[in-house]
Amino acid sequence: MVLNNKWRISRDDLTARFVLMPTIILTFVFVYAFIIYTVYISFTDSSLMPSFGWVGMKNYVKMFKLANWHTALKNFAIFSVLYISFATFLGLILAILVDWSKAGERFFRPIYLYPMAISFIVTGTAWKWFLDPGIGLEQIMHTWGFVNFKFDWIKNSDKAIYTVIIAAIWQVTGYVMTIFLAGLRAVNHATIESAVVDGAGTWKLYTRIIIPQLGPSFTSVFVILGHMAIKSYDLVIALTNGGPGRATEMPSTFMYSYTFTRNEMGIGASSAVFMLLLFAIIIIPYINKIVKDS
């Protein structure tokens, strides 16, 4: 008998197939049938409730003419670029610092990572009041004697999106660090040692030898942050509620408000389809890889 890593129960074991059925059915209904349903709705005249009058691309055309959608797309672009680059950069720096220090892993890593364990709504509440110029950071600086200090971004239409980015980075950087830390631990020691023997300084060692070996970590980080950026909804709602005005509108908040409060479900569905397309570009190659590796 050949032993391999796959368990062979028996080829005709119907029980196994039967057991998998609920998961398959639920996934196909709640994921794939629902996706098709939303795509279909995006081509209909649905308003308060779903309806099935076919209107072709009308919702998409209308959506791309809306000022709110433009704001949402612009914010999404600013948000995703800054969020992904800062969180990646800071996460990498932290991973290197933590990797160097004996106390790093045991003491600092849990401190950097804990924001990941709490809800975006909690994060949003904490930062909302901390950044509020009336009682938060601005007020703190005033009591410390910096009377001219001004930090009212959260109330400023042009700057509010950056406060969302700050809070989002706060939440996720520890996670990014954890991924890089795992990557650093997997770096080939032989290449490091030979580089050290050749007299490479720390800077060279990292830029030429170690960081280039972190390719897979960078991919994971990019995919995870990219997909979180598309989905981010809770934090915006708790921190700014899309305001001031509609200044921090994102595709996710746009979708929700057009679908459930503005009674333009067709347009809401169109924006959801747009989000799915963005998401698919990022995630499909990644899932392909996970499945192949498994």
Partner: protein, 284 residues
């Protein structure tokens, strides 16, 4: 790598600065949840309370106005518990069964199937909000805890299947094979051999699912009503309610209550939390 003494000190200083950045919001929530409102308004958010009071916690828990009623967060805390426990149990159980079956590699197209299941746990949920609302409505589950349990179970299956499949893939096969030779059937093998050896991954799955479901907002706000809304939705209602004086201290106490269960889990079993995070999983 070993560092020189000075480099080690600089390294430590930078790490401490970052630690302050990460701890400040938590610190701000804690100290201000024990201050009377006047002390927050006039003073420094970073200062320790001069007049240490418990009233904000009492108010957040049992008397604060959430929506139309002055019930405090307590009923919503209970809603979250009623939602989390069955959803975590069901998604973990189903995930372990599916992971077990998919791990055997007996099906044509099992990899494709696995990929399709995985895709489902990463999608932006906006794409399923409209039909889910419809289906919950027609099942008479709109605005109920059972509806939220169903939704969280279904959209948790991708992660739990992933966790268990990956674990079972690296299980030694001899035990199972010898049980088969002895004539044991599927459920017998699953119950007597697989489950007893699955404790660590069950812990990961339970922690991951509890954290995710407890922290969810989108499903709670979309499909819950006053009798079933979870803690996150109630907290947001409390904080963003536009009527009356802004009771920052009550908001901070409420935020801490919402954060407490998952923070405790994180402190007690951070290792398992990290394993969940690292299994290619994404929060959202």
């Amino acid at each position: 790598m070993r560092l020189h003494k000075t480099a080690e000190i600089i390294n430590m200083v930078i790490m401490v600065i970052f630690a302050i950045f990460f701890l400040t919001p938590l610190y701000v929530m804690v100290v201000n949840s024990f201050k009377p409102l006047s002390e927050i308004r006039g003073g420094n958010m970073l200062a320790l309370p001069v007049d240490f009071v418990l009233a904000p916690w009492r108010s957040a828990w049992s008397t604060a106005q959430i929506g139309v009623q002055a019930t405090g967060l307590r009923p919503y805390f209970l809603n979250s518990i009623k939602m989390v426990i069955p959803a975590v149990f069901l998604s973990t159980l189903m995930g372990s069964l599916s992971g077990f079956v998919l791990s055997k590699g007996q099906f044509k197209g099992d990899k494709l199937l696995f990929g399709l299941i995985l895709f489902g746990c990463f999608i932006p949920f906006q794409i399923v909000l409209i039909p889910t609302a419809r289906v919950l409505g027609s099942l008479n589950l709109a605005g109920t805890t059972s509806g939220l349990v169903l939704v969280h179970t279904v959209y948790g299956l991708g992660f739990t299947t992933l966790f268990f499949k990956n674990t079972y893939d690296s299980f030694p096969s001899e035990l199972v094979q010898s049980a088969q030779v002895d004539g044991a059937h599927f459920f017998r093998i699953f119950r007597d051999i697989i489950l007893p050896n699955s404790t660590p991954i069950i812990v990961v799955s339970v922690i991951w699912q509890t954290t995710n479901i407890w922290n969810d907002f989108l499903f709670g706000v979309s499909f819950g009503d006053a009798s079933s809304q979870p803690m996150t939705v109630a907290l947001n209602n409390l904080v963003s309610s536009s009527t009356g004086v802004k009771e920052y201290n009550v908001h901070f106490a409420g935020a801490l209550m919402a954060a407490m269960p998952t923070l405790v889990i994180y402190l007690v079993s951070g290792r398992y939390f990290v394993r969940g995070l690292m299994s290619g999983s994404v929060k959202g």
